[in-house]
């Protein structure tokens, strides 16, 4: 594989001898790289470099965080997320990563075994439900990082762990090669094609994502559908109806574990950052109400959209448990 995904490759000196680092560099065809002292020297750089670099580094801080209140816990008492990779290959206009990270650079923390060690300390007290792909799309990066396989192996071997890997990727080839566990849930964000085309640059269309759902299910993994975030646009009823109808047809033989729904919401601080960066973005510039530190649609809009979606799911995905973010 070439490293055409990335303009430059940087390696933190302390990560240079890691097995994971060596494997990633090999997968990228042993590219030229620059050695740096700290990933933030590149990741947080203020000079507006428009390209995308890959940074291989160690995680200097916390590796397992408690899940945010606006994120779904699916009824799990001990809900966490783990940013083993920072930033995403896709370019979704509404993504909180746009408010959180300064640029397009992707940082892979090569000391993932330390993440698993931190997780095991938590598991001494109780079981854990971990979302491993919140700050990135691990499936889309699998050929580079190989972390979907790592999390699958870890989850299959660790009975106290349930893992969710969320993705928009349409790859169908990887699932049959991965170790299967009923505690490793692949969660597919499915959007209407109008939303994908308009606001999710670089992502596959709904048809592609639905094929990936079928592939994951055929390989034996539990699958979750995420109709989240729902975006308020002029013809939202039509496009979401069509999306759900089509998903139910395509997935008729598939045993969907559960479905997650929710209208768009984002931390107030990230929203401020996004509005500065994207003055012409319809999504960033919507006049959200600010409620307990989060921007969200007013009740009138959120209720209408979420209630509508629940009715659709009651028709098209009867008997599948539905979780709403609020």
């Amino acid at each position: 594989m070439s490293h055409a995904l990335f303009d430059k490759v940087y390696v933190e000196k302390r990560a240079s001898k890691d097995t994971v680092t060596g494997r990633i560099l090999e997968r990228l065809g042993d590219p030229e790289r620059e050695y740096i002292d700290h990933y933030k020297d590149v990741f947080d750089a203020k000079d507006a470099y428009a390209g995308r670099s890959l940074i291989l580094a160690h995680n200097p801080g916390k590796r397992i965080y408690e899940g945010a209140p606006v994120c779904q816990s699916f009824g799990n008492k001990h809900f966490y997320y783990s940013p083993c990779v920072m930033n995403c290959i896709y370019d979704c206009e509404y993504c909180f990563l746009k408010g959180m990270y300064p640029g397009k650079n992707i940082c892979i923390f090569t000391d993932i075994e330390e993440t698993f060690a931190e997780l095991e300390k938590i598991e001494k007290k109780h079981d854990a439900y971990v979302c491993a792909s919140y700050n990135t799309d691990l499936v889309a990066l699998e050929d580079v990082a190989g972390y979907v396989e790592k999390w699958c192996e870890k989850t299959a071997a660790d009975e106290r762990l349930t893992t969710e890997i969320r993705t928009k990727c349409s790859r169908t080839d990887i699932y049959e090669k991965l170790p299967v566990s009923e505690r490793l849930i692949f969660a597919f964000t499915v959007s209407p094609d109008e939303i994908a085309k308009g606001y999710e640059k670089g992502t596959p269309n709904a048809a592609g994502r639905l094929k990936a759902v079928k592939a994951a299910a055929a390989a034996g993994f539990p699958v979750r559908l995420c109709f989240d975030p729902m975006i308020y646009v002029r013809n939202w009823r039509e496009i979401y109806t069509e999306m759900v109808r089509r998903a139910s047809e395509e997935l008729r033989p598939v045993n969907v574990r559960d479905i997650s729904i929710g209208t768009f919401r984002i931390s107030d601080q990230y929203l401020k950052n996004m509005r500065k960066k994207y003055p012409d973005s319809q999504i960033a510039q919507y006049p959200y109400i600010i409620d307990k530190g989060y921007g969200r649609y007013p009740d009138k809009v959120a209720d209408a959209m979420e209630d509508y979606m629940k009715e659709l799911l009651d028709s098209f995905f009867k008997d599948v448990p539905v979780f709403c973010w609020r």
Binding site: V233, R234, W236, Q282, Q285, P287, P298, V301
Partner: protein, 79 residues
């Protein structure tokens, strides 16, 4: 694009002049207008509709608050 300059231009003068606005209300209205611009909503048509209804012009703070709520509903909640 300089964010400050962009934001300061976004309330159409005709709209601002028809209400009594505090700074907080101006900020809210500004955000509504920026969104309307990105979503292709014609603020002049909206202003004329609100004039026909009698919502505008709003001559005091109380009726301006009500007008602002109606403007918000018109722009942000009517799809």
């Amino acid at each position: 694009m300089i964010p400050g300059a962009f934001y300061s231009k976004c309330i159409p003068g005709a709209l601002e002049n028809e209400m009594i606005l505090t700074e907080a209300m101006k900020n809210n209205l500004r955000q509504i207008c920026i969104y309307a611009h990105t979503a292709g909503i014609d603020l002049e048509i909206m202003r004329q509709d609100l004039e026909k209804k009698g919502t505008l012009p709003a001559r005091d703070k109380e009726s301006s608050k009500k007008a602002l709520t109606e403007i918000y509903d018109y722009v942000a909640c009517s799809f």
